[in-house]
């Protein structure tokens, strides 16, 4: 007999303050505990006769996963236990609303969709980096936490009942012979039972962005396994077919997320976030120009080939796929030193060769005056910004990189070290490469940029120098 919950009741030291939600799967209460300050949320799964087995296992999964997750993109785990027969879990109550209500206002402007998508992708990158895959990404599980003083708005992922963690036994892996996920959002490989591919979350986020941007669901709301498998061979209408004023770059991004083959999607959530934040740098392919769904012949061909395709997709991912790092090379265009430039080229090339999925961001800082407005136009009337972009492209040319792998950024700041570190942080850069310059009088007075970047970088930082020359760090 499940425990009857009532306001004011004490459950293992937690006082029930108010019921928040009586969902199909669980009851949520606002609770308080003298040892745990802040607003808390208690989740109690509905147990007993007639409850779906996936719900009960889902709660067990959440109980195993939440304590091992950390960081600003998941609710902080507080405690869990069993009160008589009633299991419970307490976590931080995150302020804000999910993206669910936004669906009623869809279609939203492209910029808003991209901004929300970038926040969601950043949250997913944080989760994937911890070894977990959410596997139930949808608007109602993406909680938009408003900006607090001194901070920025961010998306917090909630409900880990279907999630997978690479270092934990998967209680859902083989227990149910039905696809586990939410019909409109589930990725094709997930329909086939693959539960360890982080790129499944990118597909689901793609569905979410599609819905927010067009007001329509790309694959409808199928329920049966046959209906879910349809997305393996039937492509969705291109977003621009529904909303012609939607920018091409957004169609490119959304359709890349919705690729059936995970290898054709973004390799990592960080790279998706990056594109959503830099629309002008999204390389447009045939996807951007699509005006209608594929013809019957193409669909029929895919339908006949579906068994081969299913087999290929159902093969479990052998390596953890979040290993497609973003490299950043900081280039000093002002003090060109051919030997140092060569050394930097070599280091970048070496780093890119060892990881085929890696992407390169070429960054330079354009100094601005500390006080006052800077004219963006120089005396000759040529845009200084564009000049630097051209110079960056020229710098990278000897590396002969595929244009899909490289982007260019000119940062305007009065403090180069701070700008580089801040850029690395917001773009989720995995590795910074920068050159060490020779000792100059100015440097001695101001301190070196590279030393500060190394000290403050949120990731690995490599200082490249020319062998044999005495140099400052």
């Amino acid at each position: 007999m499940p425990v009857k919950l009532a306001q004011g009741m004490q459950l293992d030291g937690f006082e029930l303050l108010a019921p928040l939600h009586q969902g199909g799967m669980a009851t949520l209460w606002r609770v308080a505990h003298p040892d745990h300050p802040g607003p808390l949320l208690m989740k109690l799964p509905r147990i007993g006769y007639g409850e779906a087995a996936t719900q009960i296992v889902g709660f067990e999964v959440e109980r195993m996963l939440m304590p091992v997750l950390a960081g600003p993109h998941v609710p902080r785990f507080v405690a869990s236990g069993d009160f008589e027969d009633q299991p419970w879990l307490v976590m931080e109550q995150v302020p804000g609303d999910t993206l669910r209500p936004l669906l009623e206002q869809a279609p939203l402007p492209a910029e808003r969709v991209a901004a929300l998508g970038a926040l969601a992708a950043t949250a997913l990158q944080d989760l994937h980096r911890q070894g977990a895959v959410h596997l139930d990404v949808k608007p109602s599980n993406l909680l938009l936490r408003p900006a607090e003083t001194g901070g920025e708005a961010r998306i917090v992922l909630i409900d880990f009942g279907l999630s997978h963690h690479q270092h934990l036994p998967d209680l859902l892996a083989e227990q149910f012979h039905v696809p586990i996920g939410t019909g409109p959002y589930i990725a094709p490989e997930q329909v086939l039972g693959v539960r360890n591919d982080p790129r499944s979350d990118l597909f689901a986020l793609g569905v979410t962005l599609y819905h927010l941007a067009t007001g329509e669901r790309p694959f409808g709301n199928p329920t049966g396994e046959g209906g879910l498998k349809r997305r393996l061979y039937r492509d969705p209408p291109p977003p621009r077919a529904l909303k012609p004023d939607l920018p091409r770059w957004l169609q490119e991004i959304v359709l890349r997320c919705l690729e059936v083959d995970p290898d054709a999607r973004y390799p990592t959530a960080a790279q998706l976030a990056f594109d959503l934040r830099h629309p002008e740098q999204v390389p447009l392919t045939e996807r951007a120009g699509r005006t209608r769904r594929d013809g019957r012949l193409a669909v029929a061909r895919r339908w006949f080939g579906r068994y081969t395709r299913e087999r290929a997709l159902a093969a479990p991912a052998t390596q953890h796929l979040a290993q497609a790092p973003l490299l950043m090379v900081a280039i000093d265009l002002k003090h060109e030193d051919p030997a140092l430039c060569r050394a930097l080229h070599e280091s970048v090339q070496r780093a890119l060769q060892t990881t085929p999925g890696a992407r390169l961001a070429c960054v330079t800082v354009m100094r601005t005056a500390r006080i006052g407005m800077d004219s963006n136009l120089d005396a000759a009337g040529r845009n200084r910004h564009v000049k630097r972009l051209v110079a960056l492209r020229d710098w990278v040319r000897p590396l002969q990189l595929d244009e899909h792998r490289v982007t260019f950024h000119v940062l305007e700041a009065h403090d180069p070290a701070e700008a580089l570190v801040e850029y690395a942080r917001t773009a989720d850069v995995d590795h910074i490469l920068l050159g060490a310059r020779g000792l100059t009088g100015v440097r001695r007075m101001l301190g070196s940029v590279s030393a500060r970047v190394v000290a403050e970088a949120p990731c690995t930082a490599t200082v490249v120098r020319v062998r044999g020359e005495p140099q400052a760090p």
């Binding site: 067990e60 195993m64 304590p67 934990l168 036994p169 209680l171 083989e174």
Partner: protein, 246 residues
């Protein structure tokens, strides 16, 4: 409460000491030795004395097949090198030490935990939990929330579910919260004779309050132990296995 677990110590003093250093640093309230204190390794007397002292101060110690073979008649079903090792080991131990080994229980139940060397369904016949089927049998034979076994030398974590138990290869050093409504069978892996290709000694740490289990691997100087095995005149194969973790 934090419980430190060692299985298959196999008379390897260096491996035991290395694990204890790591476990002491992590902190623990109780020690559990899951059998096979002796056999294969060069230090049976030291390991038995250590286990006896640990038991006197509250540790749980269960009997393994090697302990039984050494304490009673030689195991007829053992490999030739193992049998030679049994005879050698018996000669190293005093009658008091052998008598103590003989008296060890086959399994010990404490609260919702069961400690047994081989398996829960037929502990005296020494069948390995080396498959999902075997784990299913063992889980069915007890109502303990968590069973700890040794005998099988590779670390593994099984959990009961509809149909056959599921198997998971744990990642060392990661504290796994174990669902309380599930039943689990954990094999910490061999401390003194690892056989999963990794020569580092294996052990585990259970936090009963957080219900989290951490598998650990501890590197130690296995070459020194291999040298002592050779010096003792034990089969060279036993020395080689330590370096390869086979």
């Amino acid at each position: 409460m934090r419980i430190a677990l060692l299985a298959d110590l196999h008379a390897n003093r260096d491996a035991v000491e290395a694990c204890l250093r790591k476990l002491d640093k992590a902190g623990h309230d109780q020690l559990v030795l899951l059998g096979d204190l002796v056999g294969y390794g060069p230090d049976p007397s030291w390991v038995v004395d250590f286990a006896r002292e640990a038991q006197a101060s509250g540790a749980v110690v269960v009997r393994g097949n090697h302990d039984e073979a050494v304490a009673t008649a030689a195991g007829e079903r053992m490999h030739a090198s193992a049998r030679f090792g049994v005879d050698w080991t018996r000669a190293q131990l005093t009658e008091a030490q052998r008598a103590w080994l003989r008296e060890l229980p086959l399994s010990v139940r404490e609260e919702d935990r069961l400690y047994v060397h081989a398996n829960a369904h037929a502990p005296a016949s020494w069948g390995y939990v080396n498959s999902r089927l075997a784990a299913t049998h063992s889980l069915a034979a007890t109502d303990a929330w968590l069973t700890f076994c040794g005998h099988e030398h590779a670390p593994a974590l099984y959990h009961g579910q509809a149909g056959q138990a599921a198997c998971f290869t744990p990642q060392p050093g990661f504290a796994m919260p174990l669902a309380p409504a599930r039943r689990w069978l954990a094999i910490p892996g061999a401390c003194g004779q690892p056989r999963d290709g990794n020569p580092a000694a294996a052990c585990a740490l259970l936090d009963t309050r957080a219900r989290s289990l951490t598998f650990l691997r501890v590197p130690y100087d296995h070459d020194a132990v291999a040298a002592r095995i050779l010096a003792a005149g034990l089969p060279a194969e036993l020395a080689r296995r330590l370096a390869g973790g086979q």
